[in-house]
């Protein structure tokens, strides 16, 4: 258990580097994942270069990647490495750590009125597994044969046949998975046991509900991923045959000694983790949006209880839909039917959330601040991500769209339009609490608007490409006769992608400028109700001068007969 206030002041290393303070760890996760998001975005921009102008040289890349882009011209292997690393980095080191690692750590103790996490040292360990995981993943670029190149999904047996970069990928995923499990245990223990007096489960803010359910999903699903990648490692290094059937002949060499393995087993295990992982990547964002919309509408969250049941339902169903990624894999078509049915059902709780958010805005008093802009962008873009998921759920349609750009568009609307806009809503909302200074509103809105425009300009045409039959993960699409007319569209998307990456400079300027020169933030600059705003900005070590007592729900805005239009959760009555 946490010790509260230590008597002696910790030194520099204990304060800023090997800190057990959940706020420091949260900020460490935040900075790490922002850097990785930027890096992943740059990898995507390189891919867009190849897709927009296939085979054209990009002179400065010759020095940066002499093997991957000799003379500045990309080779096919390097393209495969780029999308593999882009996906792996964005998911494992970008989205999951920013939503779960950064906000989970920073917000959970503050919002439930606790001095710190239940297991501060475990918490520190969960962060310090990230840097080695990142270094090992990136080391793949420098080993013989280059980085992993079998996609972030690492389908066996292709992933069984690739070189040392794939081993780096496996080890990195084991480390990052361990980090997730540690974090999940900590979050669950903290939320269950360290809630302030009066903070019942149905007074928890939605962000905490979302992080709680995310942690449960993470705890149940991540060990399956760990098992799968360890089996893959054993197949590669010790000659086991979990995923390797008899009779494979790869590149003219017979793979004798392997028999009895099931290729599809990898996909079942991988998606048993990775479909819940999609919800691990979206539920926290839904939680943040559910906190932000009521605040800037000055109105209680519409249907709080049904929102809790909806995310619980999404989480439960999220474990029953994994094989909808496998409609074209050759598994029994009857299985396809049951997985389609479960997938369709997920649309119901998701719809409940969407309509409840809209109803929250209805008859509100809306201030379109930067966090609110990002939360509304989340609604608008996640809607597209969700609706295009229905095309993918309808198996005969999915058989056509599977592994085309339609799916790439769909997942980016969910993960960038949804998760990352949710994350930016969170950053802009909680920045004053984290750093004690306000972000610049004008820069924030300009960044948000440009990101929204360029994001749509890159991702929406992907649906058109997918409908046109353009496969994903393809180094040179120009050879296919049915795609020849997509040159202009692909170039436009590439231009928009470069602009999208460039627009992030505005965010960086805003972030660093405001960090040092921004207006000082008060304790509660947004007139918010929840507990993190009932302490100084930034909060001290131990969070609260006196432990808060909770007597109100999380969204008591515009209560009739009150002097202010908000009632803090810890207000006396």
């Amino acid at each position: 258990m946490s010790e509260g206030h230590p008597s002696s002041r910790p030194g520099f290393w204990r304060t800023y580097v090997f800190s057990t303070d959940h706020k420091t760890i949260g900020i460490q996760f935040l900075i790490t994942s922002l850097v990785m998001l930027l890096f992943g975005g740059l990898l995507a921009a390189l891919m867009r270069w190849q897709l927009g102008w296939p085979g054209q040289p990009l002179a400065f890349m010759e020095k940066l990647a002499p093997n991957g882009m000799p003379g500045g011209v990309m080779v096919p292997e390097y393209y495969n490495m780029l999308f593999t690393m882009h996906g792996s980095i964005m998911i494992f080191f970008g989205i999951i750590p920013i939503l779960v690692g950064a906000f989970g750590n920073y917000l959970i103790p503050l919002k439930i009125g606790a001095p710190d996490m239940a297991f501060p040292k475990l918490n520190m360990a969960s962060y310090w597994l990230m840097p080695p995981a990142i270094l090992i993943m990136l080391a793949g670029f420098f080993v013989e044969g280059g980085a992993a190149a079998s996609g972030w999904t690492a389908y066996a047996p292709l992933s069984s046949t690739l070189g040392a970069g794939q081993t780096c990928w496996i080890i990195s995923v084991i480390l990052v998975g361990t980090s997730s499990i540690m974090g999940a245990i900590n979050y669950i223990a903290t939320i269950v046991s360290l809630r302030a007096k009066g903070m019942t489960f149905f007074r928890l803010p939605m962000s905490i509900w979302a992080l709680f359910i995310t942690a449960i999903m993470s705890l149940l699903a991540t060990p399956v991923l760990a098992a799968a990648v360890i089996m893959l490692l054993l197949d590669r290094s010790l000659g086991t045959s979990f995923f390797l059937p008899a009779g494979m002949v790869v590149d003219g060499v017979a793979w004798a000694g392997h028999s009895g393995g099931q290729v599809l087993l990898w996909q079942h295990l991988f998606w048993f983790y990775s479909h819940p992982a999609v919800y691990i990547m979206i539920l926290p964002a839904m939680g943040f949006v559910s906190d932000i919309l009521p605040n800037f509408s000055r109105k209680p969250l519409f249907g709080y209880h049904s929102m809790v049941y909806a995310i619980s339902g999404i989480a439960l169903l999220g474990f029953l839909v994994w094989a909808h990624h496998m409609f074209a894999s050759g598994m029994n078509p009857a299985l396809g039917t049951s997985f389609m049915a479960a997938t369709m059902v997920i649309a119901v709780p998701t719809g409940v959330k969407m309509f409840n958010w809209l109803a929250t805005l209805w008859r509100g008093s809306i201030r379109l601040t930067t966090p609110m802009f990002h939360a509304c962008a989340f609604l608008s873009l996640f809607l597209i991500g969700g609706l295009t998921g229905i095309f993918a759920a309808s198996m005969p349609v999915d058989v056509y769209l599977h592994d085309t750009y339609f799916i790439v568009g769909h997942l980016h609307y969910v993960l960038l339009g949804g998760s990352l806009f949710g994350a930016f809503a969170g950053i802009t909302y909680w920045f004053p609490k984290m750093f004690g200074r306000m972000l610049d509103e004008r820069l924030g809105l300009v960044h948000g608007a440009l990101t929204f425009i360029f994001f749509n300009a890159v991702m929406f045409p992907m649906f058109i490409l997918g409908i046109g039959g353009m496969p994903r993960r393809i180094y040179d699409w120009t050879q296919y006769a049915h795609l020849t007319h997509f040159g202009g569209l692909n170039r436009m998307m590439s231009v928009a992608a470069f602009c999208l990456v460039t627009a992030q400079l505005i965010f960086m300027v805003n972030f660093f400028w405001s960090l040092f020169k921004g207006k000082r933030a008060s304790e509660n600059p947004w007139d918010s109700t929840t507990l993190e705003w009932a302490t100084s900005s930034p909060p001290p070590h131990g969070n609260f001068a006196t432990p808060p007592t909770v007597s109100h729900g999380p969204y008591e805005y515009s209560v009739p007969g009150r002097a202010t239009d908000w009632v803090a959760q810890n207000a006396a009555s």
Partner: protein, 255 residues
């Protein structure tokens, strides 16, 4: 030094021109005919059913899209903060929440039934077939195997082609999919069918072409560095032409 600077400027200008052209081109292309930004024409017996199902989903999701985005924009404008107005103190409405639980549930039930009907037709037991053949994926080619005069596959008189799949129009053809090394995915965009070729197992699909013509086989599952060039060719011809082609292959391979 000067020439270096000069070439930098040149490059920057070229890049700027490329970027501008990139933005202008698709706008022009859209003006020329949006129809090209749609499905490639369907040429299989079930292609129209898949396209129709797609349109049903598009109509429903399109309606929801405009409804929700419209409401979002309307609320943001209508309920923007104004002096003197106060937000309503409402926690929810069981009735409203029931409505937007039940209606989506009915819609997805309908979509599930509609999807299942097409699915059962395409992926269920195939109709009586006139031809059976095997396609084996291999890094990075499609090996096509037809039965020889004995009418059976995997016998000494089999006929084999690489990346050349000929099919008789109008006939139901069973295709057994296999793989020699890693997973490939046999994708015929105009046929609206795709199925992985998985090592260690055989997968079966059926197709029935409705028109003659030349099309392509796309590999849709990442299979290694040459994945992008794993392209095959499909020729749909009349049964007479098909028989003549097969006889010619027979002559080349077994005489």
């Amino acid at each position: 030094m000067k020439s270096v600077k000069h070439s930098c400027w040149n490059r920057a200008l070229t890049a700027a021109a490329l970027l501008l052209a990139g933005a202008a081109e698709p706008a022009w292309a859209f003006g020329q005919g949006g129809a090209r930004f749609w499905f490639p024409p369907a040429v299989s017996s079930y292609g129209a059913q898949v396209d129709r199902l797609f349109l049903i989903v598009l109509a429903i999701t399109g309606a929801v899209f405009f409804l929700v985005e419209g409401a979002l924009l309307w609320f943001l404008i209508r309920y923007r903060r104004r002096d003197g107005s106060k937000a309503a103190y409402i926690h929810g409405s069981t009735r409203a929440e029931l409505i937007w639980t039940v209606i989506p549930a009915l819609i997805v039930l309908y979509l599930a039934v509609a999807s299942q009907r097409v699915w059962a037709h395409i992926q269920g037991p195939p109709p009586p077939h006139q031809l059976e053949l095997e396609v084996q994926g291999e890094q990075f080619a499609w090996n096509v195997r037809y039965a020889g005069p004995d009418g059976a596959l995997h016998t000494a008189d089999d006929l084999e082609t690489i990346n050349q799949l000929h099919l008789p129009v109008g006939q139901v053809v069973l295709i057994n999919l296999a793989s020699k090394d890693v997973i490939h995915s046999f994708f015929l965009p105009q046929f609206r069918i795709k199925r992985d070729a998985v090592p260690g197992m055989t997968s079966r699909i059926w197709v029935q072409a409705t028109v003659t013509g030349n099309f392509e086989i796309v590999c849709a599952e990442l299979c290694g560095l040459g994945h992008y060039r794993m392209r095959g060719f499909v020729t749909i011809e009349t049964p007479e032409e098909f028989r003549a082609w097969l006889a010619q292959v027979q002559q080349e391979q077994h005489t």
